[in-house]
């Protein structure tokens, strides 16, 4: 690969570009007008503005992105996650234009992108799935009937989507029509397709997923599980690996099913096979995420593999050098997603200006971030700001390391999830590993940041008084400002030249 265009923004664009730089491959960034000067634009070797902020006119504009790739001589495109990552039409257009799409082939992606078709295929291959509809629909009346026949509660999902968008659980018959139409609207606006389907809702499940890597020569390995049970609005916010719920036998069984799923779908490149694990230990195939996942860094930490570099190598036709029997999990890793959301107010997104950021650093801490002091969080994009990832020898130590890192993470100007997540890390039920997808509603429904009776408030007030130096007696640290600096004088001067 000579040059890679990264068709994304924020932390993931930056993550991909860092891998490219280390591999010696130049990168092309694309950006919307509101992202001018953002971190991925600064980092790339070249950057091209592709349109105004609304995604349809920029990050989802297939024609414009392909045109940019050709213009700048990019022979490969990395889509990151979200936007065009799981758009099979985009993958097909790339191959038509002889541009390598760094991800699965468009046929496998189309099959897996259609949740109903992929369910049917997996049932045929003997993969366990959740009982539910075998065909999607968009007629409210017939969907209502399906739901009552199946028995409530049911889960409504967008046939063309993922990531929790357009997903709703319906427990009561009177809510059926409203919830179904809301789900269809969300599906339409998020994925351009309002087809939805229903499946039985499983109470208190764990969300377990397996990372797989598949090369173009028929070799497939799994890189073990990630548990992503801590969710709000059916979207993950904390992920960890290994999962406390898997015995070595169950891990091996689920891992081999994950590989079978990938093989059945004719899948190549990096992907994630998602399962629900119920309280009795039964597991059900949910779907395949045909992309690099938001939470991929925890697998990298525990297995010791760079997944983005693997993606690039696989896409350029290399054989997998990893052998299943040589892969091991070492230690424990946790990721917390830092969102521009208000955890006190039902995780409502908070757009606005970030005035100041100070990110935690230290042994075993990785912060994949797309924000900086002074950036604007736009209403047009997903509210993810950054991902804090820690690794430590044991789960207990990893929880402590994460809580401590979160409590050093300062983001001023907007509401974020940092304090909330620190409290999750210290909650007894989390520490005991009693996690399920309803964990947040069960334990954190009325969460408020703890106020404490410590000295923090008075110290904060002192800082407020000192800010802007309106108060007397604030000392400035560091070297005194040079009054006669040559940089500040209007006269001509030269550096080190002969005079």
């Amino acid at each position: 690969m000579k040059r890679i265009l990264v068709a994304n923004r924020g932390e993931i664009a930056l993550r991909v570009m860092k891998a490219c730089r280390e591999m010696g491959i130049p990168t092309v960034a694309v950006y919307s007008t509101s992202d001018k000067g953002s971190l991925h634009v600064q980092f790339a070797d070249e950057a091209v503005c592709i349109g105004p902020p609304p995604p349809l006119e920029s990050y989802l504009n297939i024609d414009k992105i392909l045109e940019t790739a050709k213009e700048r001589g990019a022979d490969a495109i990395h889509p990151g996650y979200g936007f065009l990552a799981e758009n099979s039409e985009f993958a097909r257009r790339c191959s038509e234009e002889k541009i390598t799409f760094i991800g699965p082939g468009h046929e496998a992606m189309r099959l897996l992108g259609n949740k109903v078709e992929s369910r049917k295929t997996m049932v045929k291959a003997g993969i366990p799935v959740i009982p539910g509809m075998m065909s999607a629909g968009k007629e409210i009346a017939s969907l209502c009937k399906e739901a009552t026949d199946m028995g409530l509660p049911v889960l409504v999902k967008a046939a063309g989507g993922g990531g929790g968008k357009g997903m709703r659980i319906i427990r009561e018959e009177k809510d059926l029509e409203d919830s179904l139409s809301a789900c269809m609207r969300e599906a339409k606006s998020a994925f351009g397709d309002d087809t939805i389907y229903l499946e039985r809702y499983i109470e208190r499940p764990r969300h377990i997923e397996f990372q797989i890597l598949a090369d173009c020569h028929g070799d497939i390995v799994h890189l073990f599980e990630r548990e992503c049970s801590i969710q709000r609005r059916y979207q993950k916010i904390v992920e960890e690996t290994p999962s406390v719920a898997l015995s070595p036998e169950l891990r091996e069984e689920m891992g081999s099913v994950a590989v079978k799923v990938a093989r059945t779908a004719g899948y190549t490149n990096a992907g994630t096979v998602e399962f629900l694990l119920d309280e009795s230990g039964e597991f059900y195939f949910l779907e395949v995420n045909a992309r690099v996942q938001v939470e991929h860094p925890i697998t990298e930490a525990v297995v010791g593999v760079d997944l983005v570099k693997q993606q690039i190598r696989i896409a350029s036709g290399e054989k997998l050098s990893l052998k299943q029997e040589e892969l091991r999990q070492r230690g424990h890793a946790i990721e917390c997603r830092i969102y521009a959301e208000d955890p006190e107010n039902n995780f409502l997104p908070c757009a606005g200006k970030i005035l100041y950021v100070s990110q935690p650093e230290g042994p075993g801490i990785r912060c994949d971030s797309g924000i900086w002091s002074g950036c604007e969080v736009s209403v047009h994009y997903d509210p993810i700001l950054s991902k804090l990832v820690v690794w430590d020898e044991t789960r207990e130590q990893a929880c402590k390391r994460m809580a401590a890192a979160l409590r050093r993470y300062a983001i001023l100007g907007i509401r974020t999830t940092t304090s909330f997540l620190a409290d999750v890390m210290e909650h007894p039920a989390f520490l005991e590993g009693r996690t399920h997808t309803g964990f947040i509603p069960e334990h954190f429904a009325d969460w408020k940041p703890c106020e404490g009776d410590g000295p923090e408030l008075k110290v904060a007030l002192l800082a407020a008084a000192a800010l802007g130096q309106k108060a007397p007696g604030v000392k400035a640290a560091g070297p005194a400002v040079e009054t006669f600096s040559p940089w500040k004088m209007g006269t001509k001067w030269r550096i080190g030249g002969q005079s």
């Binding site: 968008k165 809301a182 609207r185 969300e186 606006s189 998020a190 609005r233 107010n345 039902n346 409502l348 997104p349 908070c350 757009a351 606005g352 200006k353 005035l355 100041y356 100070s358 002091s373 209403v379 047009h380 994009y381 997903d382 509210p383 979160l406 409590r407 050093r408 300062a410 983001i411 001023l412 100007g413 940092t418 304090s419 620190a422 940041p449 404490g452 410590g454 000295p455 923090e456 408030l457 008075k458 110290v459 904060a460 007030l461 002192l462 800082a463 407020a464 008084a465 000192a466 800010l467 802007g468 130096q469 108060a471 007397p472 007696g473 604030v474 000392k475 400035a476 640290a477 560091g478």
Partner: protein
Amino acid sequence: MDFEFLVGEKEEKLSVEAKDGVWLARFGDSEFRAEVVTVGPNVFWIATSDRSFSVYAAENEGKCYVFVEGQHFCIEKPAAQTRRKIGTGGTLKAEEVVGAPMPGVIVKVPVRKGDVVKVDQVLVVVESMKMENDIRAHGEARVKEVHVKAGDSVNFGSPLVELEPVS
């Protein structure tokens, strides 16, 4: 020098006096000495007699955001804050303009002028950042005016509906 701040709903008073490079501060019933050092435009090092703190602070639109030991504070001058208008028992005591909590597009307005709404009843559905968000009534009230319709774009704080007390 005296300062009056609002932290959440609570008024806090702080007075400070500089002496020999150290602040003598009075907060509530306590008096204490503090050394306040500006490390950078948004970074302070504050030392009291028994502890020292690394503090981040920034100001925007009359609000001061401060981070101390894992706690984020939003500190306002009292006049800048709008009083909450909800009485006890979940009924609205005075007229209230419900503003958009975020910029976005109106999906649905399930209430009409003259409707009486209950606590937590959905007034407006706003789509923002690809999610639908329900804007609910804080208390029982009557809808005095509806300012938006489906499809409208709204900015942060744009008036959505006006509510008035029921009786």
